[in-house]
């Protein structure tokens, strides 16, 4: 019997049998792009469209890639593998799709913003008596620094103390309630914070047309405090309990333990959290539009008169364009570029601080 058995040619590697070759998905992707590109090139040469359709090539090429990959895989590897490959492709595409607006947004802002941004007067002059081109955003930058700075001064002590309460003292219902409502507060729409500041101060000062920088700081604080609480709380929770117990064992009072042991250990993380929370509120437009208003002049006094801020400057330049519209649009983009730069720098600095100064807990 055994002599009559015929053996088929040995499979070179049984583990890869019934599978697509290793780099097949990449190949299929390139092939589908090429096919669609060829199609659009033919159409273009025939004169149906004007110019080569890049967006169409990438879009339809990617769609073709999904279909082709699924079919290839289905016939070689079966339906389960085919589905897996399709989902892998879709998930990767989802990530790339999310990058497109980010790249487009940053690119446009840099390209459109640079001309006015590089004007020497942009950082040295206000918009006072400026019609058409020229002038700058100094009043807005100063206003942003003042308003956000004061908001930080208000939010950090309150937020930090609350975080300390939640981690070190809080037990029972009150602590749970505060945690819950802090989370809920992170979702308050920014414009509602502005309306709150307006409602509060117009009632206090009995002035229905009230606009001043301090109100903007209060509105931003409402938005900032929950972020500070959440990030500081996370950082304080990371401080190992052994440190606290060692301090207690030496007879150190609880409050001194917190001030001298717990806070310094968590300091880097707390600073990072504060900087990220600043970067969150520094770009807020709506509340400042409502309570700080807009002006073309310098104002160094937080407690009287309207105060321009950078986000409102961007909005205002775009919304009320003068006769020389291009100059206003240019300034709007330059303001947006400044804003993005500030936010990115804050984020970057925060990450650096977190990386350099974080306590090395691991062995």
């Amino acid at each position: 019997m055994s002599t009559t058995l015929t053996v088929s040619a040995p499979v070179t590697n049984s583990l890869t049998a019934g599978k697509l070759p290793k780099n097949s998905s990449l190949m299929v992707l390139l092939a589908s792009w090429l096919v669609v590109a060829a199609f659009f090139l033919v159409i273009n040469l025939a004169g149906v469209t004007d110019g080569f359709n890049w967006a169409g090539t990438l879009f339809f090429g990617t769609v073709l890639y999904c279909i082709a990959l699924f079919l290839f895989s289905y016939f070689v590897e079966g339906i389960r593998r085919a589905k897996d490959r399709l989902v892998t492709a879709l998930v990767t595409i989802a990530f790339v799709v999310a990058l497109i607006p980010l790249i487009s947004l940053v690119g446009t802002t840099v390209i459109n913003g640079l001309p006015a941004f590089l004007t020497p007067t942009f950082f040295t002059e206000s918009q006072r008596n400026v019609v058409g081109a020229g002038g700058g955003a100094l009043h807005a930058i100063v206003g942003t620094l003042f308003v956000t700075g004061l908001a930080t001064l208000i939010s950090v002590p309150i937020g930090l103390l609350t975080a300390i309460y939640l981690t070190e003292y809080g037990i029972g219902r009150l602590a749970k309630g505060i945690t819950f409502f802090v989370d809920v507060m992170t979702g308050i729409p920014s414009i509602v914070a502005g309306l709150f500041a307006y409602a509060l101060f117009s009632l206090l000062f009995d002035d229905p047309g009230i606009r001043f920088g301090f109100g903007g700081s209060i509105a931003l604080s409402v938005l900032m405090i929950p972020v500070v609480v959440r990030s500081s709380e996370e950082m304080l929770k990371l401080v190992p309990n052994e440190l606290r117990e060692a301090a207690y064992a030496l007879g150190v009072p609880k409050w001194l333990t917190i001030v001298k042991v717990v806070l310094p250990t968590a300091l880097a993380g707390i600073v990072t959290g504060v900087m990220i929370s600043i970067s969150r509120v520094i770009g807020e437009t709506a509340p400042l539009l409502i309570i700080a208003g807009f002006t073309a002049s310098m104002n160094y006094d937080l407690f009287s008169e309207r105060m321009m801020t950078l986000p409102v400057f961007v909005y205002n330049q775009y919304a009320s364009q003068g006769t020389d519209a291009q100059a206003y649009v240019d300034r709007a983009w330059a303001g947006a570029l400044t804003l993005i730069l500030i936010v990115m720098l804050l984020n970057l600095a925060a990450r650096l601080i977190a990386r350099v100064f974080s306590p090395k807990l691991g062995r």
Binding site: R80, T108, L161, I188, P189, S190, I225, A286
Partner: protein, 314 residues
């Protein structure tokens, strides 16, 4: 018996410093609850004149406050709904990509790139939406209306500027994307590794492992992430105010130049020029927005908190 013994805590001597410090932290914590209450209270006080306002006080012909706020509330919910419809699948895809598909070393960096989207100020999104996205989409809209105009949502006439509620929904989707992604990513990473390894060991493909282990585990997290994104989309102001060309009525058409506007955008556009009862009316619409977002956020947080307590992850 043992519990009775445990109850007797050793009381440390309370120094004045201790008392001052603990009181200060308690006051700060209480202040936060106070602020939340104050937001509701002051908005309510200032809104009362709006509820009894005469028809003449409203911009446009509305008989009372509720008929004024209804189209705005509709626009707010409609645009947020459209935005979530686009954002949720993409966000889940990104979260899966970062948590389960991307190379381990790259994952953190890729997550940071998506977080960068959250750092872009909303006014810049508005500028981008009106300056780049709307003109880019307009020819596409024209084709859509031409070919699919029989479908009620895509009915014409097409907007000549591209500043439609659909464009707004795309901008909003981009803005809520990082929020939903961040939470989904966290939840997906919490999936017990044993479940994942068990399904892989049984011969499941990666996608089967995700549908069997990761997604069922993360379902509550995905829902609450979506609701937090909804809260953000409902309250987003500047992007909508800048991109949309508004008309206060209830309309489902996505691509025409007649679009329902949102509460927040309506406030931002009209507040600087408002006076008298007009201010109170805008504040009252703000109160409505506050109530809507508060409810959405509370439900989302309740789901997340329940999940935290019962999940096997911690």
């Amino acid at each position: 018996m043992t519990t009775a013994v445990d109850r007797i805590a050793i009381k440390a001597k309370e120094r004045p410093g201790d008392r001052i410090f603990s009181t200060a932290t308690l006051v700060a914590g209480g202040l936060i609850l106070g602020v939340l209450a104050a937001v509701a209270a002051f908005l309510l006080i200032q809104s009362i004149p709006a509820f009894v306002a005469e028809p003449d006080d409203f911009k446009g012909d509305f008989t009372n406050f509720w008929s004024y706020v209804a189209p705005l509330a509709f626009g707010t919910l409609w645009s947020a709904f459209l935005a979530l419809l686009m954002a949720i699948p993409v966000a889940i895809g990104i979260a899966l990509f970062i948590s389960h598909y991307a190379p381990r070393k790259l994952a953190a960096g890729l997550g940071y790139i998506i977080d960068l989207l959250a750092a872009v100020p909303s006014v810049v999104f508005g500028l981008w939406g009106i300056g780049v996205l709307a003109p880019m989409l307009q020819p596409f809209y024209a084709n859509l209306v031409e070919w699919f105009g029989w479908f009620p949502l895509f009915a014409g006439p097409v907007s000549g500027t591209g500043r439609t509620i659909f464009t707004v929904a795309i901008v909003l989707a981009v803005m809520v994307l990082p929020i939903i992604t961040a939470i989904c990513r966290e939840i997906f990473l919490q999936t017990p590794v044993l479940y994942e390894e068990a399904s892989l060991a049984l011969g499941a493909t990666r996608w089967e492992m995700i549908t069997m282990a990761v997604l069922p585990f993360g379902r509550a997290g995905i829902i609450s992430a979506a609701m937090l994104g909804l809260g953000r989309a409902l309250g987003e102001t500047m992007a909508v105010a800048m991109v949309l060309s508004p008309s206060p009525q209830i309309l489902f058409q996505l691509l025409t130049s007649q679009n329902p506007t949102t509460i927040a955008a309506n406030i931002a556009l009209n507040f600087p020029e408002a006076h008298g009862v007009g201010v109170n009316i805008l504040l009252a619409t703000g109160l409505m927005l506050f109530v809507i977002t508060l409810i959405v956020n509370m439900i989302a947080r309740l789901i997340i908190n329940r999940r935290k307590a019962f999940s096997g992850a911690n």
